[in-house]
Subunit: 314 residues, 2 copies
């Protein structure tokens, strides 16, 4: 039997046919038509699903379930997308519309970060583990928590906002309006702010040189550090500490077996993951006696959304 995973984004909507082992057998992508209403976008998703099944030579009767991952505020239990910053959803009854249109029974929706965490846990870096979390470092800090094999959502799916834990009283301003949240220190955006400030103060550093040559991105800090730049080393070490602080706080609560790091910054590989591992191992509560927590880079990368969404239906 097969499953369908749908990964909704502001630019494109990706769909895939996924088997029981988490392999994507067939993929299809459509543009997100932002001129449409939320219901209109769901109609496009229905067509995408029909196309996926048809092009792969299958029939809807071969599909055991459909899962959808979307950014924004989702009400998992009711199958509703409440709203999403960059998409026209407004209490959109996505699960009902898809069920009615396709006459399929098993349709589920969840936040995209939750889906990615579930996908990574079932078939990616967290395979074999029951308690995990995924932290995605991008424009913001996304988190998904797997507790005893299940997504943690909180009441009416309003929880799991790990980017919005306060790590510093009265600290940096967060996108949500509050101060001192993890996201304001540990997102890729925050890293870029930290790089810009360092470059301004140190215009003759290697970091400043790379900045001029390559433009602003998180990678130049790791690259400049490798080239012996002390300014970059300071930026990177501080950033790792910030991310580590978030991981430790979340670990003291959820105590996962494994933490998975996603997002562009995780491509820095061992230069990023190894010091994070050291920070967590050293600072987690009861470090001497507590069970070990592994810190690894997420592995499903761009496919995490499709595979994770499909996992909702498994």
């Amino acid at each position: 039997m097969y499953f369908i995973g749908i990964d909704i984004g502001g630019m494109s909507i990706k769909g895939g046919i996924v088997d029981n082992d988490g392999n994507i057998l067939f993929k299809k992508t459509i543009e997100t038509d932002l001129s449409k209403s939320g219901d209109g976008i769901v109609d496009d998703i229905v067509l995408l699903i029909k196309g996926l099944v048809k092009d792969d030579g299958l029939d809807l009767s071969n599909i055991q379930g459909i899962g959808i991952g979307s950014p924004g505020s989702i009400y998992d239990e009711k199958g509703i997308i409440r709203y999403s910053c960059n998409l026209p959803f407004d209490n959109t009854q996505i699960v009902k519309i898809i069920k009615d249109s396709l006459k399929v029974k098993n349709v589920f929706v969840s936040n995209d970060a939750n889906c990615a965490a579930l996908g990574e846990t079932k078939f990616g870096a967290g395979k074999g583990h029951k308690n995990t979390f995924l932290m995605t470092l991008g424009t913001g800090v996304g988190t998904g928590f797997i507790v005893d094999g299940k997504i943690l959502t909180g009441n009416k799916s309003a929880g799991a906002e790990g980017g919005h834990i306060q790590i510093n009283i009265g600290g940096e301003k967060c996108g949500c309006g509050q101060r001192g949240h993890l996201e304001a220190y540990a997102s890729a955006t925050a890293l870029m702010n930290q790089i810009e400030k360092a470059v301004e103060k140190n215009p003759t550093s290697i970091l400043a040189k790379l900045y001029k040559e390559e433009g602003l991105n998180g990678k130049i800090a790791f690259e400049a550090k490798k080239q012996g730049c002390k300014v970059a080393a300071k930026v990177v070490n501080k950033y790792i500490k910030y991310v580590g602080m978030g991981l430790v706080t979340l670990s003291n609560l959820f105590f996962p077996e494994i933490i998975m790091i996603g997002g562009g910054v995780s491509n820095a590989g061992d230069d990023f993951i190894k010091p994070l591992q050291r920070y967590v191992s050293k600072n987690v509560y009861g470090a001497k006696y507590a069970p070990k927590i592994k810190v690894v880079a997420a592995t499903l990368k761009n496919d995490a959304g499709i595979v994770g969404a499909a996992c909702l239906a498994m």
Copy 2:
């Protein structure tokens, strides 16, 4: 059918026979004999259980299950108390010893904060809710999280350490050795430190007067504030903010329907709980759209330990 709940403390061990509705039908307390080994203390608990059953005119066949709550590091799944600061447990196989001694099948152990959270959720302030947490403000900050009706423990029961979330980078030193943890700002001990500092700086304040008359305790700050003391008002308002910061961070993750506050400080009642409610309602992530979170004082008080432990077996 009946259940037995055992509440282990550093001074005394309390046991009770609890019915299906969470009522304690019969209670018995023994002194904790700290001259004994961990196994010796468990033998005392076996005698306590036998005594409870006999004195209440029951038979062990009337007991459906036994639950034990203990401070310290517990490995719930294995039924072991790993260690506890003020008790001589050392990987003590408490569940096995009780099962073998009494020939009963359903015996469970968990951390006392977890037990209290479960008890308060099943039969106390959180009755009827599936997602809750209890924060106990005492010497430290204890927390227990109920997710979908079940205790959250994390891998090998090492999690749920809500006192040890970092709220302030490089901030006050915590009992665990780290800096900036919630416990260092929001425990009753922390409040007393905050009072002492304020009294030192303001020796002619009403707060200082009460301090001299009644000695150091959390209540005098609330009392002095009521009497119009501005120094005390500042202490109390700041303390409420610290506790609120912890509640908001934990809410953004767990998004409970209800938060229960326990420990001596919660006896300040509405003067403490109402401003906390306002702080949480205002500052929780997506406050405008998010489901409401109720903040209330725990209600089972001294019985929470016995009732909560009994709940482990229900």
